[in-house]
């Protein structure tokens, strides 16, 4: 058998190594890497950045499994950013004795998630729906479908050894441990836009491993941030340059008062389908509670114009089982202020959650401490 010394010989049985030491230099390289990682982490920490979890279908699927496994002990949150930012899961568990599960998906409709829960016979807990206004459309396909599809695929393929799941878990661990990966960024982006940028955007929003999120509005520039949110929520574009924020406030208020009301087309039919989902869950011993989370200022004004309560909420709630809590009806909830008009600050989160749990208990929809 030939024993070649040419490394490009296809039949070689021994490679020629470059002379000298290689293990010590490689180990030195690893130490230098760790130094770079440490320096970047230190620089990010000094600028107030925290490691965050990045929300993903895999993370959602993990929580979704809890919703099925916890049975009637599950307290499942469905909806969008308000359910993620306003509710403190620890406080909710403490106040209700149940196992809170965060299934809200930022920027998405609750309908596809509710449909998925309704279709799963194992789900028999309490579902809190973050009602966002308007007529629900069970056929609307938005980002939440990606999460639901991922979960269904995982359910179909079973829980056997799965590389992708392991990779997701490791990536989630890395994101939850290192600031360099915060908010879905990578180390290079973190270096350029957070360490080297003289006026880096502060990290006001943090996603927690439970998929809940904390918003610290003391870290953003107010009231500019608030007005941006108002415009986004109300769908207003192209505001002219104005001399001060009072003028911006007035201009936005004027535009909001002229906004059209959302369509009520197919309300009865669509809500009827939603009602059937609710009925399926409740037939298994579960409960579905619709909650209108707090709004403030011009975001509230816009919602009142686009989705008048009498036209939407008051008609929809009776058709979906009658369990609806409107924040303005509850003295302990109505005085909370959303700094951006739409979400609560992290400092109000616990107090709001305890008040919400109490209000739900007072209506007999959940039993505290059980």
């Amino acid at each position: 058998m030939r024993s070649s010394t040419s490394n490009s010989d296809i039949h070689l049985t021994r490679r020629t190594l470059p002379e000298g030491r290689w293990l010590v230099p490689f180990a030195t390289g690893v130490v230098l890497l760790l130094l770079v990682v440490g320096m970047l982490e230190g620089a990010l920490a000094a600028r107030g950045f925290r490691a965050t979890v990045v929300d993903s279908p895999a993370l959602w699927a993990r929580e979704r499994l809890h919703a099925s496994e916890a049975g009637r002990h599950a307290l499942i949150l469905v909806g969008a950013s308000r359910a993620q930012l306003d509710v403190d899961l620890g406080a909710l568990a403490e106040a209700t004795g149940k196992q809170p599960v965060q299934l809200a998906i930022d920027g998405s409709s609750y309908v596809s998630v509710l449909a998925d829960l309704a279709a799963d016979d194992r789900v028999s807990g309490t579902v809190i729906v973050d009602y966002q206004g308007g007529v629900p459309d069970p056929d609307f396909q938005d980002a939440s479908m990606r999460y639901v599809e991922y979960w269904r695929h995982r359910e179909r393929t079973g829980t056997t050894y799965d590389f992708q799941r392991m990779e997701n878990a490791l990536a989630a661990w890395r994101q939850g441990t290192l600031r360099s990966y915060a908010d879905g960024a990578g180390p290079f982006a973190a270096l350029v836009s957070r360490v080297l940028a003289p006026r880096a955007t502060p990290q006001y929003l943090v996603t927690l491993p439970t998929r809940s999120r904390d918003a610290d509005y003391s870290r953003v520039s107010m009231p500019a941030f608030y007005y941006q949110r108002v415009m986004r929520n109300a769908g207003i574009e192209g505001l002219p340059a104005l001399p001060d924020y009072a003028a911006v406030d007035k201009a936005l208020a004027d535009r909001i008062s002229g906004l059209p009301q959302a369509s009520t087309a197919n309300l009865v039919e669509n809500v009827g389908r939603l009602g059937r989902m609710v009925h399926r869950i409740e037939a298994r011993g579960g409960k579905v509670i619709f909650v209108m989370f707090p709004r403030s200022g011009l975001v509230r004004a816009a919602d009142d114009v686009i989705y008048p309560r009498a036209v939407f909420w008051d008609r929809i709630v009776p058709l979906v089982g009658g369990k609806g809590l409107y924040y303005a009806d509850e003295p302990s909830l109505r005085d909370f202020t959303c700094p951006d008009g739409s979400h609560l600050d992290v400092r109000d989160k616990r107090r709001f959650t305890l008040a919400l749990a109490k209000a739900l208990e007072a209506r007999g929809w959940i039993s505290a401490g059980t």
């Binding site: 296809i10 070689l12 190594l17 470059p18 290689w22 890497l33 180390p187 290079f188």
Partner: protein
């Protein structure tokens, strides 16, 4: 499980640690075999049974061939092995291609044919392990190696995870003796192996995925939007992407194998500094080009039998080599272009024998070879002929490159210049001259580069799909 994934890091660390702790060569081989099958199941668990079945069949057939004296029976057994392996490949890789093309052909003849949907997932690495396995039965048939290898050793040869899914296509007569002989990697082998892995990952993550792939992707997705230098940047960027992607993978494979004490051959040797196409194919995907040479070109007759037959054999080999990359006429076109280049070079070598060896003509020859190789990459990368034509015509429209495109051009210029400079050396010869400090800095630079570009969506290695 990609080499540049976190799960592979954990997998490798675990296997390497266990390998070090275990005593006894037999136990270590069992560990590597089990780890390799676990590695393969990461893609599609049921397909590991195809790998095992293919392995057992070839091992058994090779033993029968080895024990058989009657030539006709030996030939029959070889044919069984060839048919079994190539049928497997044909079913998974070319089934849909055959069905679709049959439909088109029958449509052209006015016959309405509605074939069933061919929804079969290609087992990753099937082209590589099939070729590795075939080399064994053919070599046994040719009596170049003995078929006395235990099944475990043979299974490890086929499935050894560093080369399993994208090569290099290691030959049985190179790896089997290494598996048979107890091996304890030295400290420096481990150090150099890990350095190769770091360089390979840098090539993949920083150069291929971060600097070049986005430019190539954009140009090939919207060719009309990138006139002139931008389109050219896209073409060169893909040439760089596929080199750094596959070359980086090969370096990782060689380095990983070395950490366990095994030697894999080089798969690339500065191909963009090639002078002519025969030189290019001695430097690009060496394990495939030599496989095609030994098991296809030479059996077809090679350069024996006159000029016409040689050219025909070259063309057939390259067309089939193109098709090996995937079930698409674009790969066949790529193979056809390379076949034509090789034929043209052969004709020119006969017409002007001294020209190819003239050092004065070397720069021109290198540049010409590089440009034609890049030209051939266009149909390889383009999803269809229309995109291919659109990309090529875009080059002739005046326009400046964007910043990313300019960066890609700069990277490629540096890469080609460096390859030109070291074209007659090996990486080991270049690395031998580095001081220990420089070695540490190279390792650190590669590792930091990989860290800095981590965190996004990992791209699979291009050659995994072949």
């Amino acid at each position: 499980m990609l080499f540049n994934s976190l799960s592979f890091l954990v997998f490798f660390a675990t296997v390497f640690l266990c390998f070090g702790l275990l005593r006894g060569w037999g136990t270590r081989k069992w560990l590597l075999l089990a780890a390799s099958y676990a590695f393969y199941t990461a893609w599609n668990p049921p397909y590991v049974f195809i790998l095992i079945a293919s392995t057992c069949l070839d091992w058994w057939l090779a033993r029968l061939i080895w024990r058989e004296d009657r030539p006709s029976r030996r030939r029959l057994l070889l044919i069984v092995s060839l048919v079994a392996n190539l049928s497997l490949l044909a079913f998974f890789k070319y089934g849909d291609f055959v069905v679709v093309n049959t439909q088109v052909l029958m449509g052209a003849l006015g016959i309405a044919y509605h074939p069933p949907l061919w929804d079969v997932v290609l087992p990753v690495g099937i082209s590589f392990y099939t070729f590795a396995s075939l080399s064994y039965t053919i070599d046994v048939y040719r009596k170049e190696i003995a078929a006395d290898t235990p099944l475990r050793d043979y299974a490890l040869f086929v499935a050894f995870f560093p080369h399993l899914v994208a090569g290099p296509i290691v030959r049985a007569r190179a790896l089997l003796p290494q598996i048979a002989r107890p091996t304890d990697p030295t400290r420096e082998q481990i150090g150099w192996g890990l350095t190769l892995v770091a360089i390979g990952l840098f090539c993949k993550s920083v150069l291929a995925d971060t600097l070049l792939a986005p430019v190539a992707d954009l140009v090939y997705a919207t060719p009309g939007a990138h006139p002139g230098a931008g389109a050219l940047a896209g073409i060169f960027a893909f040439a760089g992407q596929i080199y750094f992607d596959f070359g980086g993978y090969s370096l990782c494979a060689i380095g990983l194998a070395m950490c366990f004490g095994f030697a894999f051959p080089d798969n690339f040797r500065f191909p963009y500094a090639a002078r002519g196409f025969s030189d290019f194919w001695r430097r690009w995907h060496i394990s495939l080009s030599t496989w095609l040479r030994d098991y296809l070109y030479i059996p077809l007759g090679g350069n024996r039998g006159g000029e016409w037959r040689t050219c025909r054999n070259l063309m057939l080999t390259m067309l089939l080599g193109g098709l090996w990359h995937g079930a698409s006429w674009m790969f066949v076109l790529w193979g056809g272009l390379h076949g034509s280049f090789l034929v043209a070079e052969r004709v020119m070598r006969r017409a002007r024998p001294g020209w190819f060896d003239d050092t004065g003509a070397a720069p021109l020859l290198t540049v010409l070879t590089f440009l034609l190789v890049c030209l051939a990459w266009v149909p390889f990368r383009a999803p269809d002929l229309a995109t291919c034509v659109a990309v090529l015509t875009s080059v002739f429209r005046p326009g400046w490159p964007s910043l990313d495109e300019a960066m890609a051009l700069l990277v490629m210029a540096a890469a080609v210049a460096w390859q030109w400079r070291v074209r007659d050396q090996s990486l080991e010869e270049a690395a031998a001259r580095w001081s220990e400090g420089a070695r540490g800095m190279v390792a650190a630079a590669c590792l930091v580069g990989v860290f800095m570009t981590s965190g996004g969506d990992s791209r699979a290695f291009i050659y995994f799909q072949f």
